[in-house]
Symmetry: C2
Subunit: 491 residues, 2 copies
């Protein structure tokens, strides 16, 4: 076998084992008996240790060195690029540091849950300070002399930098704050009333998943506390949740996860179990979940179809018609929780976290001062005060598990979705007529052809650029949001 | 770290990874989307390859060499014994041969399924001949100069030999044939009539699992085509099946798997994720499933309780009372299929396979002559002819996947169960009164204390011997079967 064949065969096994590790995570959230948690922790640690050993195996370095400079076709070259990237990142972090991060974040996650339940940031601050210090050390190792926070972003969105995000968010923030202020002066539309049995929610969820092109022969849907999508290739599973009083939570969680899952299911099958066989970045992944959920799923056209479906499933919904239903779907309200935010306020949540975590990593903000800084910034952007830490800086799990550099990819996904949506409307005529009858086929086919099938072949920015015909920018998203909510709220 | 600590830490990771591989098998039979089969095959192959590399890692040999002869406590010594055994077996089989067996048995299993569907043994014979040749070669490697078939048995039942089984089966066969002949001259008791909705079957299955002490906080029950138990430690899952016309199939499959699962759940938690943390052999495992299913579950006392439970769940069962229900549970009938056989005929099925597979491996029986040999022997032991291959030599999957030496452990399990049952009745007074009210607590506590908690600490024969107070023998099983069926059929 040539060095390339050997390298790719080795990598294929690693990819297959990583799929198993991911499915173990799915099992933990959906099927695992509750008494199995401790044993599962050991199983996961053994699996991660084995995968880390494979990803830092010196043979990888030798194969890569032998191949770099060789003439390769674009697909092989892209695979090598991913393997090189993974190998460099994995070998730059000392094993001692990786183990210490795993140990401390495991403790920290428990402390976070306790502190959130007690609304007590001070109880969480000491362990968070340890996490920040360790992640900073890891970032320094990864940056190899470059910017530490950029190295962290790079884990989730290759080639993206804080400077690019600063410029993008600088354009978004004033327009979104102004829109939020204008909307919250207006009366809030009514929500739904009625009865929404959870079994009927799950049944309609399944139909919606099919409507959006999710392939149940290569996936399944189950209930979990937190909705997620898991797996690549021919086994991509999603979860959703039901709440008796809030059917939209179920349906839009489902559509969101279907967006993630259709991305994975849409990748060229030739790339399965290779470094090209999964979504290229968190930002591009989120662009798919967001365009399915928001630009398509929360459009006036598609909500007209959903209104009919929900009436058939649940009877009277307590709203006066399809326009009132559309307004209920897109209600903007005073709230504190990122995951429940509407399209207007969502990105304000992200910018807040982005600025605070940059400052935590650089040391400009001490962990002890985080709660105050959060609350001050929140009131400035949202116009009302945070009443307690569980609605403020303790609401998200991310920092407790060491996820720094991850939050901005949520907004990046929205920005990418904005660009893709504009291009989609340019290329697919009659989109609203299709969505109004529940036909997402032309839209999802466009996304599959332009974005999904490429998997990891290009860089994230290349994927969006070739799909849209221009480099990604915040303008299309902002124009879309302003037009939509100006109309909805008669501004 | 000492060599012992290093070895045991390494082994612990291997055990944890093996648990993951097992759970992947569970997922495949219960949850996996059907389109994921090909990818799953690659995932499993990567997992098995990784586990094989760990089990043959030269460091294991070095650690073992450094430790053998050292003074160790009995628990550490038992762990070393298992690791040495696994290492020797794994290293004796050349990688080329292991890969070839994996490849051929994968093909062979498909050919077997096709041949069974077509009732065409000749279509299966060529690939079976390849499997036999490869397994013989593997057996020769494992035997290292000893008896080839004994080396195969040893994979499933350490220290057991064909000579011991020959002697045991020689005692059993005439008594079981005579009993079968006497019974089949008598009229067959009536079966149940009524309606047995599958959801109600599953609900009662769950209650029966609890009745027999299965701990749902460390397990779960799902439906699968073939019932099985999977996993060790704190995550032991079972499956069962439902058939609208045959509720006993569901209930006794469940109780059987609960026996396997309670064995795993009953092992000393200190042994979890060590070589002592799972059932010690196939025979001892089967002894637990069989004593739960037959000696307890099909007893007159327990069937009285089950009769009430089934009446509550399904209404009229079409039998005249608890005695008639007991007779229906224990019906002996002319049939061809091992997995559906009653207590009288079951071991006759095993002896047939045992003698034929010994002859296949030794070369005394050519694969081409297998069908004829099977049919001739069947008619001799069962008294009626096999009408077609799917009811004869094509009925079991085992040989197609290379399982030789496995079948006799089923009967060994029955023999062990017979010994344990006699000892249990000696030690636990009022057993029938307890079972009659659905209280299996004292029986299962006795099994847990005497057998289950020890896991792999002793050899299989030692476990049974210390539990019963004497070495295992077929006498107690034969006495029990003769007494039970002589009563049932008024012989």
């Amino acid at each position: 076998m040539s060095a390339l064949d050997e390298l790719l065969a080795y990598q294929r096994d690693t990819e297959a084992l990583a799929q198993i590790a991911g499915r173990l995570g799915w099992d933990q959230e959906t099927m695992m008996p509750r008494g199995a948690a401790d044993q599962r922790g050991e199983e996961m640690a053994a699996m991660e240790g084995m995968l880390h050993a494979r990803r830092t195996d010196p043979r990888l370095g030798a194969w890569l060195a032998a191949l770099e400079g060789a003439e390769l076709d674009p697909v092989a070259a892209a695979k090598l690029r991913h393997i090189r990237r993974s190998f460099d990142r994995a070998t730059r972090v000392p094993a001692r540091l990786a183990a210490e991060i795993a140990r401390v974040t495991s403790v920290s996650q428990g402390k976070w849950a306790e502190a959130r339940a007690a609304d007590d940031f001070a109880a969480f601050a000491p362990v968070l300070a340890k996490v920040v210090a360790l992640k900073r050390e890891e970032g320094q190792a990864l940056a190899a002399g470059g910017d530490v926070y950029d190295a962290m972003i790079d884990d989730y969105e290759p080639d993206m930098t804080a400077a690019q995000l600063d410029a993008m968010f600088g354009e978004m923030r004033p327009r979104l704050v102004a829109l939020r202020e204008a909307i919250l002066d207006k009366p809030m539309p009514d929500g739904l009333t009625g009865s929404f049995p959870e079994e009927a929610q799950m049944a309609l969820s399944r139909r919606l998943a099919e409507t959006f092109g999710y392939d149940f022969t290569r996936g399944r849907i189950d209930k979990a506390v937190h909705p997620f999508s898991s797996g690549s290739g021919s086994d991509v599973r999603i979860t959703t949740r039901t709440s008796p009083a809030d059917p939209f939570n179920c349906f839009y969680s489902t559509i969101h996860e279907v967006g993630h899952a259709c991305y994975e299911q849409g990748i060229d099958p030739d790339y399965a179990l290779t470094p090209l066989g999964s979504g290229v970045s968190m930002g591009v992944h989120e662009s798919q979940s967001r365009i399915y959920e928001n630009q398509l799923g929360r459009s006036r056209a598609f909500t007209g179809y959903l209104y009919q479906q929900m009436q058939q499933a649940f009877g009277d919904l307590g709203v006066s018609g399809a326009d009132a239903f559309y307004a209920a779907v897109n209600r903007v309200q005073k709230d504190y929780i990122r995951t429940e935010a509407d399209e207007v306020q969502y990105n304000l949540h992200i910018m807040l976290r982005f600025d605070l975590e940059k400052a935590l990593i650089s040391g400009d903000l001490a962990v002890a001062d985080l709660e105050g800084a959060w609350n001050e910034r929140f009131e400035r952007d949202f116009g009302y005060a945070v009443p307690r830490a569980s609605l403020g800086c303790l609401q998200d799990v991310h920092w407790s598990v060491g996820l720094f550099g991850y939050f901005p990819t949520y907004s990046l996904g929205n920005v990418y979705a904005g660009c893709l949506h504009a291009a989609l409307r340019r290329d697919v005529s009659d989109l609203d007529a299709q969505l109004a009858r529940g036909d997402t086929g032309p839209a999802t086919a466009w996304l599959r052809e332009r974005v999904q099938r490429h998997g990891g072949l290009m860089t994230p920015q290349e994927v969006i650029t070739q799909a849209c015909g221009h480099a990604p920018s915040a303008g299309p998203l902002l124009d879309y949001i302003e037009a939509k909510f100006t109309g909805l709220y008669a501004l």
